[in-house]
Symmetry: C2
Subunit: 543 residues, 2 copies
């Protein structure tokens, strides 16, 4: 047996089991302390040493080095530059590297990939600082989302591939009885990879959202080209460099996994998408480009696009605990999570009480000096910042205005606390669209039946990744689940305390269902893996 | 436990195991004798009694009854009429019936569906005669393809659904440790069906090609509308009626599975395809309509379209046995199988010898009074018949002309023996397209390397479902497998005797890979089932 496989087999088998059982499982601890006392400071130092320099860890080269990242915390450019490689050269190198990789048994591929995850853990803190200063996430979220949580999602994809590619025997004898004699065929079953994968990252979760597609492509035998958002390159560049190093150490062509950095002025995305040899595309980002990717012919496409996430409030045993939980859910990373709630449907009979509690809870959180800055982080882009600042002009009544959040460490941070708008069921022109960032809408409805109908309609038309609901009535709970599930939206009921609708746990929660306009794929259901290769059976007569 | 499930659990479990192991397995014997001595005659009598009558077994009604089937054996109309139901009424009834069905546990659904297969076996011989006199298949092929082989493929789909929908637990407690305390969530995992399925049948294999999609839709909780080709309705109408009866006997709305008969003058296919509530489409037939179905937005589509199947002849220990095997493969049902070989790539150094042997073998088979009529059957349509008759005008040299085949039982049968054309590698205008029916092309190539390159190019550009190859050289065999698999085409090597490249065995051979233009789906890989429903996890906090 391959030694690397022997080293990782237990982890792979445990991950397969966890993915089936869907109980709590994490291979990579989410507590920074688990990685050693020195690790955070060392990571920060390593990050600082990269600033102002060409990023020289990749095993790729170019005559053209560019970079345009700006820290949402300091508003200073990072001045890190990356090799710009023409699309065609990337694809040619990927195809070449993929040839040998496709022939390795899946056990060996999975073991090498598990080894890359182990290597990435050594970089968790520099990735955290890189994430913080490109996305605007808080330090703790940057560490968890781009570090252990991303690695767990990657392992989930590897484990699913490791399992699925072993579904059928590689070789067998098929013997058909024919009276006194028989026909004997030697059959070979092969999982043939589709080719070259392209993973298009987003500016807010450059690692977490890219790793599942990246590892799904690799474990199924494909080469992968990682196309980051030009404003959030460094976190995933560190990951790709770590992967390339492990590949090389294990005799695999490191160009199996390449970074396709580009610039806002000269984007390479469409050229890569439309390249005839790019057969797989994973995309996270806005719906307009997502729709373009989905309509490309002859490509297998996995998308996570925009959605309008609803909260349905019917009743709650503890309205204050509910309001505090929701206040945190909408404030976390300033509403820049694809899972963040946006529209709150509240029946008229409890509307004033609930609206007041939510306003007060958000206000208290934002102004809590120990909580505010750390929860909200910074706003990634000027576009989101402007949308948040102009939310008051959307045509709805402003219940709570958004504004700067005091950040003691970074005085110049681009911050904006949530704006809370009030509107009615009829005003769909205001709430029937994604308002990415720190803007939420409280929608006064006739009753919970109307709330459900509207939340369902939003999910069906505009997509939804999450739905939070609060009710003490079992029949209402069953109805909400039934109706929201019918538009392929999962529901989280009665969350209070240290659990939020925004969070999806690896090995248990599917992230996006793939069934509504918010995206056509899901981390990590079996389809996410199976669509990347083709089962083929060859037959040879042996008698 | 549900009694029906107790009855069928063993069959379902055995089918799941067989699908994984991929060794020989058949639940339904392919020998007519297995179904009782009286069964064939009773089936023939039942078929004859249906002629000239409205088909009154369906639990559907209409004011409008139509039918236009004509026997390829007698050229007489069958004069059987079917209820014509407007597309919208079919979809409304399907949606209504689907509601309760979607809520049944998959074990109960699978058991009811296994029961329908058992009920269908009682109709195998009337289905055989109906298939014979609509498609032109021989009696034996009609019996096997529309009877036991179709039922085995149906069971394969049921078993895959039965297994996949039980992949995750329905309910569990997720407990995340948080230092001294923990967060507890009650999680519910549900496989939510996508909605209403449409299965579009073809005129040559009206049962075999429709059952996998029909049963895949049903086992995953969807309703299904079965749209037959207007010239081949009766075989699948008998099946749908048998299914409806079992559904009703088990308290299920029989309109869960409806027949959507139409006429050539007023086709309902596009209206059904474009209906917003039709979310799943299975299609078998020509590429033009298949391409239309594939480009529909917001639908999950499974296609089997046209392809150009190649034979690569490099060397063979017994050229005569090879020629006889290939002669049968091209003559079987007059080349009207989607798996039939069309283009034979033969290197110049053995071309004359091989071409002569193939010509002689086809000629001997066609003119063998005990074999000819039974192997070739009849030609389903006038279009195919005309194409075959005019094959001599395609611009290639005629090595063997096609002509009438003597059929003792049916003097008027629409028959045409294979035309063998000779051409060269350069003449792609002749061979680079599907010539459905009894036309084959022998292509003289420079060497086997060129043969492989051309077969690969045909599969990549025009699609291929099968590839037969003959070689005594292990390195050449490996190269053929590698190259054809790279365009997602399986290879059958060195078939002689009672096994033919046209045949794909249930539970072992994938029918179509889904990876080239011949179709995007595969009987029955996991995707064929998984794409029909969406995994959703709901969470409720319990502490």
């Amino acid at each position: 047996m391959n030694m690397l496989f022997a080293k990782h087999q237990n982890i792979l088998d445990k991950a397969v089991k966890a993915s089936h059982e869907r109980t709590f499982y994490a291979q990579y601890p989410e507590h920074p302390k688990a990685y050693g006392e020195e690790a955070p400071a060392a990571g920060e130092a390593a990050f600082k040493a990269m600033l102002g320099q060409p990023f020289d860890r990749l095993l790729q080269d170019s005559d053209n080095w560019q970079g345009e990242e700006v820290s949402p915390y300091t508003l200073e450019p990072l001045k890190v530059s990356y090799p710009i490689v023409p699309a065609d050269a990337l694809v040619i190198a990927a195809k070449e590297a993929g040839k040998k990789w496709a022939k390795l048994p899946v056990t060996e591929r999975a073991a090498i990939l598990a080894e890359t995850l182990e290597a990435i853990t050594k970089h968790f803190f520099e990735i955290a600082y890189a994430t913080m200063h490109t996305t605007g996430q808080s330090y703790m979220m940057s560490f968890q989302a781009s570090g252990p949580h991303a690695n767990d999602r990657a392992l989930e994809a590897i484990a699913m591939g490791y399992q699925e590619l072993q579904r059928y025997p590689g070789q067998l004898t098929w013997e058909k009885p024919m009276g006194k004699s028989s026909i004997k065929l030697d059959k070979h079953f092969k999982a043939v990879p589709k080719g070259v994968g392209l993973v298009i990252g987003c500016s807010t979760f450059p690692v977490w959202n890219s790793l599942p597609g990246l590892y799904a492509d690799l474990v199924t035998g494909n080469a992968v080209i990682v196309k980051p958002h030009p404003k959030a390159v460094l976190p995933i560049a560190i990951v790709v460099a770590a992967i390339q190093k492990v590949l090389q150490e294990n005799g695999v062509d490191p160009l199996l996994c390449q970074l396709a950095a580009d610039t806002s002025e000269h984007l390479n995305t469409k050229e890569l998408c439309e390249h005839p040899d790019v057969t797989l595309i994973d995309y996270t980002g806005g719906s307009a480009f997502g729709d373009y990717v989905e309509q490309l012919r002859g490509k297998t496409v996995f998308t996570e696009k925009a959605g309008v996430n609803s909260v349905i409030i019917d009743s709650a045993p503890d309205m204050d605990a509910m309001a505090q939980n929701l206040a945190f859910a909408v404030s976390l990373y300033s509403g820049q999570m694809c899972t963040a709630p946006q529209n709150f449907f509240i029946p008229a009979n409890i509307y004033d009480e609930v609206a007041g509690k939510i306003r007060d809870a958000v206000s208290a959180l934002v102004n809590n000096p120990k909580m505010g800055a750390g929860t909200l982080g910074a706003v990634q882009s000027e576009v989101t910042f402007k949308r948040a600042q102009e939310a008051g002009a959307l045509g709805a009544k402003v219940l709570l205005g958004g504004g700067p959040v005091n950040n003691e460490e970074f005085g110049k941070a681009r911050t904006c606390s949530p704006t809370i708008l009030e509107t009615t069921a009829e005003e769909q022109n205001v709430y029937a669209r994604e308002l990415f960032g720190p803007v939420i809408l409280l929608v006064r409805t006739k009753d919970t039946a109307e709330s459900i109908q509207l939340a369902k309609e939003m999910a069906r038309k505009h997509g939804a990744i999450t739905c939070a609901a609060y009710t003490t009535n079992a029949a209402v709970q069953a109805e909400i689940e039934e109706e929201m599930n019918s538009v392929f939206t999962p529901v989280s009921f009665n969350f209070t305390g240290f659990i939020w609708v925004n969070q999806h746990a690896a090995f248990s929660d599917f992230h996006v269902t793939g069934g509504n306009p918010a995206g056509n794929a899901s981390f990590t259901n079996p389809e996410f893996i199976l669509k990347r290769f083709v089962w083929i059976g060859n037959r040879t007569q042996v008698n």
